[in-house]
Amino acid sequence: MRRTDALPKARGALTYGADLAAPQMLWAAYATSVHPHARLRSLPVEEARAMPGVRAVLTAGDIPRVLPKRRWDPSRPLLVETECRFQGEPVAVVAAQSLVEARAAARFLQSKAEWEVLPAFTDLEKEFPEWPDVETMKRHERVNAHVLARRGDFERAVAEADLVHEETFRTPMVAQVPMEPHACLARVQGDDWHVQTTTQTPFGMREDIADKLHLPEAKVRVEGTWVGGGFGGKNEALLETHALLLSRLTDRPVRLSLSFREEFLFTRTTQPAIFRMATCVRDGKPFARRTRLLLDTGASLPGRDFALGYSLGFTLGPYRWDTWELEGYALRTHRAPFGPHRAPLAPQCTFASDGHMDSLARRLKVDPFQLRLEQVWRTGDRTPFGQEVPPFAAAAALEQARALEKEWRRGLAPGHGIGVGLGFWSTGTSMGGEAVLTLGPKGLTILQGEREIGSGSVVEGLRVIAAQATGLPEDAVEVVYGDTSTAPFDSGVFGSRTVIALGRAVEKGCEALLKELARRSDHSPGEAGEATPRPRTSRGKLRLDLQGGEVFVRSPRGTGPLLGYLTEEERNGGGLRAHGKEYGRSHELDSSGAVEGDLYAYSDLIAAVHLAEVRVDPDTGSVRVVRYAAFHDAGKVLDREGYRGQVEGGLVMGLGTALSEEGLITSEGRLQNAGLLDYRVPTIRDAPSDLRIIAIEGFPGSGPQGSKGVGEPPIIPVPATVANAVADATGSRVLELPLTPERVARALALISPGAPTGPAGPVTPAVRGRPK
């Protein structure tokens, strides 16, 4: 495929959120809280309103005035009312004639706001040095959700085991860091609430805005722009609600965008987690596993668990267990709210789960491939939750990785090590979508409601699918981007679902078109003008073709121009139309295990096995990935280059999680590295030059032609793989991400084990037990 958006992107010719402008537009900027937890004493709003160029300042107190007839829900604050819940929470939004003036007023508000600082809960480790007992947690008001699920009796498994292997893994805050910051342009005219924004989920955004502003969904119109990466961070309405309210207040279009600092502080992201893993072994065979997870869900709203159960499932790995127990707590802290982030928490869970498997293999002195192969799910097995395993390539991928590992191991240089990591993912196919297809004499157009977020799944993926389904060349297929009032519904570009679900809707639409043409071919008078129906031979064999810029239909009856198949109405109306829909199906869980809290069913299962060779500097602890191979359960590859790009990008992103990315907070809970200087995402120069991508086909999924999603899977096994390789090179396991040189140096005992990085800032008393 040729990416039609590539050249215009490289030349800066496409319009992203921050490029939007409108006549009469006002510029907006945020004043945010500088403390993780504090009570707002005063805010000099009137002075800010009098500043040069300022047209409006929106605070929590103004919202009822802007939305007079709506009841206001104080448990879902849009702006800080009396108490801030995390550092970076918006307190006020300024709209001014210029960006400079908007920022000046916002900065003034932020620096002049008076706060009474309250104790902040930002450190899980300090709050819970040990696994807390149930009674404590029942009373702990910061517990947002609790999941306890088990099959069998883990304590009995411990009693029966020859060996209980226990480890605690820790993972830090990590952020999505799309290259394009959040940005939108809002305009309210009468009761048309229109926002152009950089989003992965226009329809989800519409629902969210309608919900937050108490508007009927039909009054909200969300129009996507080109998106410079989302990674889960551009799903919900963040700044759109504020921009809309300011537009309502000023009767002018309002543009609002985030700085990179604000990106880190106030968008939803992955917060720290502590995984206590235990695996029981009898006669050399691991047979029982328990995970205890403490998850920081940031300042999320009470009762929200953010798929705690779903995450916990990943800590069992794609493995069979006789006995298992999963327990986790989602804790509400004074960090930014937890949110989706390319395979939310799956890389972290896999770091724990697969790292634990790897260290067990080393402890038992068995081949790590062998240990995994003996336990791994195969097609037709049952998952721990009692679902039948659909076609699943984990074992095949492990076998192929093992063969390559043998090759690498011959002639392995001293100081180098090789690690394998196994992860899995399940596509969000049950989240549906639709597309409207029009087949005209010049080609096919696909009207749909998503925008391209970078992977190519919309701008090219849908065209490839339609081209392959119909026989038309890709150039004759056009994707049209509607807004939420013109396009048919779709769930969004996330969860590896775009090609799989929306793509399947397009494929179904194509099938419907061909079926209708076949019917007409069989029943119509045809070119010869015969009236009698012919035998139904065309179905399934009918294909489209482009000749001299005209669409032709090729059927067993011969080849003819599409025009001959269209009714007069269709000829006048642009062509033959079909409405493709894919709503998947929801899967059932076997409830015979004792379950408390929500667990989630999987749909397609996708395996990813990674192999890394690393060089560890024995004197400094620095880790360099020298080669990397990724074996992916593809179902069916629809486009080689697109597939490769997706896996490469995901695994390089994963190398950041593995080696360099972490949010560092002060003892007061303030993020110290909110910016690209000290929050280190990998650059192209940090990517290994020897990168092999191997797609394993033949284990079909539910996407077009049996394809499987490839959005999340590439990032999932990376941290585990790198940590396993470091353990292989050094004999020491690093149990905490990321594997910075300093952390590895501590694991290698080059320096003392404990002393943490970070300045010893002023110490506020840690919140113990129940915070007030």
């Binding site: 400079v100 004197d619 400094t620 620095s622 360099r624 080696l659 360099s660 560092l664 110290q672 590295n673 200087l677 000290d678 280190r680 990998p682 650059t683 192209i684 120069r685 940090d686 910075t740 040189p741 300093e742 140096a745 080059l750 320096i751 003392s752 002393a755 943490p756 990085t757 970070g758 300045p759 010893a760």
Partner: protein, 288 residues
């Protein structure tokens, strides 16, 4: 803060501009890679910014014993010059690690020395190479060793209205620049170390070792230098120098590294740096 940008074409014009207003209200700009960030973060809020781009500060002459680098020569030019690569490895190795290619097309030596950052990758090699600065003002020219010029972050011996005209570096000099970063590409070094060997001088030192990542600015490792007396110090001397370096360096703990780790790193880098210089072809070629 809005500011006015000026493009003087003569030194006279530049000085007239730079002398206007209270201190800090007018600042010169070269590549802008440090200054614009400092303005963004409100460290400086100049009303007037004076571009040096049209002044004759681009001189670049590679002689047999010295290279003269105009303060406005972009780093990328130096990095791509094979004459420097062969004869000033310590400087070129360091330049190649500054930011990205895009950045090095803009960033200059003049800006780097005036920024005087403790984490600069260029100050350690330039000081270890015993570079001299030519400073120019209405009063005329003066020459200052870079080591004396740099005083602390954003603190230098630059007088009001004075401009850095060029940097003069002796060559050839065997040497190397060693560094460690959390992310190898485009990151700030946790520790940087320049090692340079000079020709014999009566009573003079042969080796200069300068570390970055130290506090409050880059630091010459005097005790370590004193340990490396000969042209080819023994392994024991090198080990001792490494140990002394780790002891004498002033480090702090910050979010990039713990003090303890920095000390450990410096010891490793000194040992490796000196050994690598001794093994380098240039060290074998340039003797005496």
């Amino acid at each position: 803060m809005p500011f006015e940008l000026h493009f003087p074409t003569t030194f006279e014009e530049a000085w007239a501009l730079l002398e206007k207003g209270p201190p800090g209200s007018t600042l010169p700009i070269a590549g802008g890679t440090d200054l614009l960030l400092a303005m963004e973060f409100r460290r400086f809020s100049p009303r007037h910014v004076v571009s040096l781009s049209r002044l004759p500060l681009q001189a670049y002459e590679v002689g047999p014993e010295e290279v003269r680098i105009g303060s406005l020569v972009p780093l990328r030019t130096l990095e791509l010059d094979p004459r420097l690569c062969a004869r000033l490895p310590a400087l070129v190795e360091a330049i190649a690690e500054v930011g990205s290619v895009q950045l090095r097309h803009r960033a200059t030596l003049g800006g780097n020395v005036v920024r005087a950052s403790s984490s600069s990758d260029l100050l350690p090699p330039l000081i270890a190479l015993r570079s001299l600065l030519t400073l120019r003002s209405r009063e005329g020219r003066r020459t200052l060793p870079l080591e004396e010029f740099v005083q602390g972050s954003w603190k230098t011996g630059l007088r009001p209205g004075e401009l850095v005209e060029d940097v003069r570096v002796p060559l050839p000099r065997p040497g190397t620049y060693r560094w460690q970063r959390v992310r190898p590409a485009n990151d700030i070094s946790q520790v940087g170390l320049a090692v340079v060997r000079h020709p014999a001088q009566a009573g003079g030192l042969r080796w200069n070792l300068v570390a970055g990542g130290t506090t409050p600015t880059v630091q010459r490792l005097i005790r370590a230098e004193a340990t490396l007396v000969s042209e080819e110090p023994s392994q024991e001397d090198v080990a001792l120098a490494a140990q002394r370096a780790a002891e004498e360096a002033r480090f702090a703990t910050d979010l990039r590294a713990a003090e303890e780790y920095r000390r450990h790193l410096l010891q490793v880098l000194v040992r490796r740096g000196v050994e690598d210089v001794l093994r380098s072809p240039l060290a074998k070629e340039v003797r005496g």
